[in-house]
């Protein structure tokens, strides 16, 4: 029979922790089982616990402003959820989590986890490390998203500008940035990216459009 501390060891946030700390966590971790399709937590409910998946898979979803359900992530063994709102005053569950197969997990109540943190700096560090990874991931994601939309907006802008009559406008990158609601560095970088992809060519003081189809694809892509 594997002990509770052993199976907690398989949770990635806890993986580096000494066994004494795992024993402390095991004392407050409540094992729970969910059937396929069962809801584990509801978006918007007060956050009362953090969850650590031992077996099975869960789906994390949010309801968008338009009422559509958006799946944000799929969680598997070793992963955790609901740790972030746990540390917020009056934190609420940020998403609905549902079991996609038979799920076994450990729930740790908010007050228990916070009490543990007071006496276990190693657990605090482990959670911080996990938060740091998440933050990194989100930063990349945000950059990627805004880059992508700037790319599309810039492609549209270039196409429009190149069409306007006989006199080509002369614009600085700062002016283009202002027109597109972004910053100059973003324009410089995105122009470089478009040039790398052979959609345009930077020819000293000229932005030469090379590929109409490709640029239109960026606008609608």
């Amino acid at each position: 029979m594997i002990s509770k501390a052993d199976s907690l060891h398989a949770i990635s946030v806890f993986a580096q922790l000494p066994s004494a700390t795992l024993e402390d966590i095991a004392r407050v971790a409540v094992p729970r089982a969910y059937e396929t399709g069962q809801t584990i937590i509801f978006e918007g409910d007060p956050c009362t616990a953090a969850y650590f998946v031992a077996r099975g898979h869960a789906r994390v979803a949010r309801v968008s402003a338009g009422g559509r359900e958006q799946v944000l992530a799929r969680l598997g063994p070793g992963q955790s959820f609901n740790t972030v709102p746990l540390f917020q005053e009056d934190g609420v569950n940020r998403a609905t989590v549902r079991a996609v197969d038979e799920v076994r997990l450990y729930a740790i109540a908010k007050k228990d986890l916070i009490a543990l943190l007071r006496t276990n700096p190693k657990l605090g560090l482990a959670l911080l490390r996990d938060f740091a990874d998440r933050l990194d991931h989100l930063t990349d994601l945000v950059e990627d998203l805004s880059l992508r939309t700037v790319r599309g907006r810039l492609a549209r802008f270039l196409l429009e500008q190149a069409e306007t009559g006989a006199v080509s406008p002369r614009l600085t990158q700062a002016e283009i940035a202002a027109r597109l609601g972004t910053v100059r560095e973003m324009i410089g970088r995105t122009l470089g990216d478009l040039a790398d992809d052979n959609l345009i060519r930077m020819d000293r003081d000229r932005i030469v459009l090379l590929d109409r189809q490709g640029l239109e694809h960026e606008v609608h892509g």
């Binding site: 190149a162 002369r170 600085t172 990158q173 560095e185 000293r204 003081d205 030469v208």
Partner: protein, 74 residues
């Protein structure tokens, strides 16, 4: 041939902070008696770094946006 276009400097806006001189990667810009000027025009790669650095928007590198076929016919 297209003219060898250079960054445009507006000395009325310029407060002679020297950032453009300092940051030009090819040392094309120099500080003269009246303000900065492109001293070695052939060295200027039109990289736009001087424009990016200038706090007064006194030095600018504008771009023309053209279709490749129109460019050929010019």
């Amino acid at each position: 041939m297209n003219d060898w276009v250079l960054p445009q400097i507006d000395l009325d806006r310029c407060d002679r902070c020297g950032l453009c001189v300092h940051h030009c990667p090819t040392q094309a810009v120099e500080m003269g008696g009246r303000g900065p000027f492109i001293a070695r025009s052939l060295d200027c790669t039109y990289c736009t770094d001087c424009e990016a650095m200038c706090p007064q928007v006194a030095i600018i590198c504008p771009f023309e946006i053209v279709w490749v076929e129109r460019e050929v016919s010019r």
